[in-house]
Amino acid sequence: MNNSHIVITEGLVKHYPIGGGYFTALDGIDLQFGTGEFAGVVGPSGSGKTTLLNIIGSLDSPSEGKAVILDQSVGELSQKQAAHLRKKYLGFIFQTYNLLPVYTVFENVEFPLLLLNMSVSDRRKAVLDALEWVGLNDKIKSRPAQLSGGECQRVAIARAMVKKPRLVLADEPTANLDAANSHHILQTMEKLNKDLDTTFIFATHDDKVIKYLKRKITLEDGKVIKDEIT
């Protein structure tokens, strides 16, 4: 196994049962991602981007082939092991932010750390650092409902980044944001990628995002049709 690769897929196939038969959402994906990449999966709607990210994020398992994340083969992990992998090493950013509405900004960002047995003071420092990265130190006591869409997504980035994960998976992170906010959060993520050497994999069809990518993988009908360094 190649240790410089954080994600490896080999002949990855994903079928979804529909009706009596199967729908093939991913059809033989062979990809490798190295530590510190800032890469994106692009392609038309329905091409399999989210499906690929879910498997890489150990939220779903392959029908055939392999997906190895940090030396662990997703298809062979138990629920518990998959949860452990996500807890320790992965961060997620969603199109719809998915902040917990009853908690403050601080608490939302703190949440992933509660699973990691950190001391209160270490947690506090980590949360404040993460909010500093996204520029939201002045809003720690606000509730998500009181924030703008851009601010919400920045909280979500802080939540994904607070435990300094090895890999961040971002599915259409700018779909609900205007141009200015999109650039702002992309610059934030670009900076975190540089400073912390975190690997980012995006799924997107937003040109604004694509401009920032250092590697662009194009999917069509579940197959990789292009993989280019930009």
């Binding site: 989210t50 518990k80 998959a82 949860a83 996500r86 998915n98 009853v102 908690y103 949440f111």
Partner: protein
């Protein structure tokens, strides 16, 4: 983590306040209903035992077979001997002589002609012996409407309603016409000392209370009595205790060959209807609890107040940050148990307060009971029983956790990725 979840629970009213209220309401009703039903049954038993059945009753076997007709020709004889024996066997119980008999109450005018008359049921109790507990047991002081309690032989109390019908007042003379124990006609003159209100329509229609020695004289019952009633030391009816007393008495004194040998029956054996109901009390409590568990579980489950669809988003996020499914499921059950406990405590307190109020005040049903022939008090009182303190927690806790378990199965049934997808919509 627990503190974090608890904080969220408190802040999310839909998850805490609403379910707590649903639970509290259900628990309140459970607690109240249990107290109320126990109170009603207890009220029946209490009233019947005081006026008619005792906790246990000794009769001749022949009398027992025709108990409803109060056949005084089948009365117990040598009662002083029997009562002596039972007082020895059960010194802490109270044993009293009672005779009930029917007759015609005749009101004469100044010429001795009948002015008015009506059929009457007489209860003979010991009113005159100093220290007799009988006047207190029947709370004569409380039910007295006009006049006074008899203090010398030949005086009787008469139902106030009956007195109005016969147009008599305290001080008037009446004649009770009946038959003696040996079947000959009997006429006995009494003076009305007071009128009373029983609060039970069967008795208010035509009952009188006479002193026991007057009855013995009127009915020619030397050392005889229709019945001997026994009251348990606690003053409250207890089927098991009464059963033990009966069994020991019957094995000792009953002769299956002799119709006139004494037999002892407990309250529930004397009145099938009441007996059946008394036995149902416990079952009723169980049924109430069970019905509420079911109803509340369904309500909580269906509205998805706890768990449910509303929280798939939260579940998705928690899965994404690496919380295990089992952990999430368990934490939701803890949450709902917490709500169950809080709601149950609240509901129990309110239910008990409400039950206490009905215990003290009573609900007046005498107007509904006007035509009833059953011996039933005109006022229902709830009774706070020890079970009421914890019984409500059973449906309260069960329904919340059951509701969550049911709605939470959704988490398990759904594939992780699928749950996650709910986030995107």
């Amino acid at each position: 983590m627990i503190r974090f979840l608890f904080k969220g629970l408190l802040r999310d009213r839909q998850r805490s306040l609403l379910p707590s209220i649903v639970v509290a309401a259900g628990v309140m009703l459970t607690v109240f209903l249990v107290c109320y039903l126990t109170g009603i049954m207890g009220g029946f038993a209490d009233f019947t035992s005081k006026f008619s059945s005792g906790h246990v009753k000794i009769m001749t076997r022949a009398y027992a077979d025709n108990m409803n007709q109060k056949p005084i020709d089948l009365a117990l004889t040598d009662v002083s001997e029997i009562i002596e024996k039972v007082r020895q066997d059960h010194p802490d119980m109270d044993w009293v002589l009672r005779t009930q008999f029917g007759g015609l109450l005749d009101v004469p005018d100044e010429n001795g002609e009948t002015r008015s008359q009506g059929p009457s049921m007489a209860i003979a109790i010991d009113m005159l012996t100093p220290g007799s507990k009988e006047p207190g047991r029947l709370t004569l002081d409380n039910i007295l409407v006009k006049g006074s309690i008899p203090d010398s032989p030949g005086e009787i109390l008469i139902s106030d309603e009956f007195a109005t019908k016969l147009e008599v007042v305290p001080g008037d003379a009446v004649t009770l016409m009946g038959s003696t124990m040996y079947g000959s006609m009997s006429f006995y003159n009494f003076t009305i000392s007071g009128t009373i209100r029983f609060g039970v329509s069967v008795m208010d229609r035509g009952a009188i209370i006479v002193d026991f020695s007057d009855a013995q004289a009127a009915l020619d019952m030397q050392d005889a009595s229709g019945e001997i009633l026994g009251y348990l030391p606690s003053g409250n009816y207890n089927g098991e205790e009464a059963g033990v007393v009966c069994a020991s008495f019957n094995s000792k004194y009953t002769d299956p060959e002799d119709e006139f040998s004494p037999v002892m029956l407990k309250l529930s054996e004397q009145d099938e209807f009441l007996g059946g109901y008394l036995e149902m009390i416990d079952a009723v409590a169980l049924i109430v609890v069970f019905v509420f568990i079911l109803a509340m579980s369904i309500v909580l489950w269906n509205t998805g107040l706890i768990g449910g669809l509303r929280r798939y988003g939260e579940v998705g996020v928690r899965l994404a940050v690496g919380e295990g499914k089992g952990h999430i499921y368990k934490s939701m059950i803890y949450e709902s148990a917490m709500i169950g406990i809080i709601g149950s405590a609240l509901g129990t307190i309110i239910g008990l307060l409400f039950a206490y109020w009905v215990q003290e005040k009573g609900i007046d049903i005498s107007s509904i009971m006007k035509g009833a022939t059953m011996m039933m008090p005109g006022k229902f009182h709830a009774k706070i029983v020890p079970e009421a303190y914890y019984l409500g927690f059973i449906p309260g806790l069960f329904s919340t956790t059951l509701g969550t378990m049911l709605s939470g199965i959704g988490i398990y049934k759904r594939k992780t990725a699928q749950l996650f997808k709910e986030l995107e919509t």
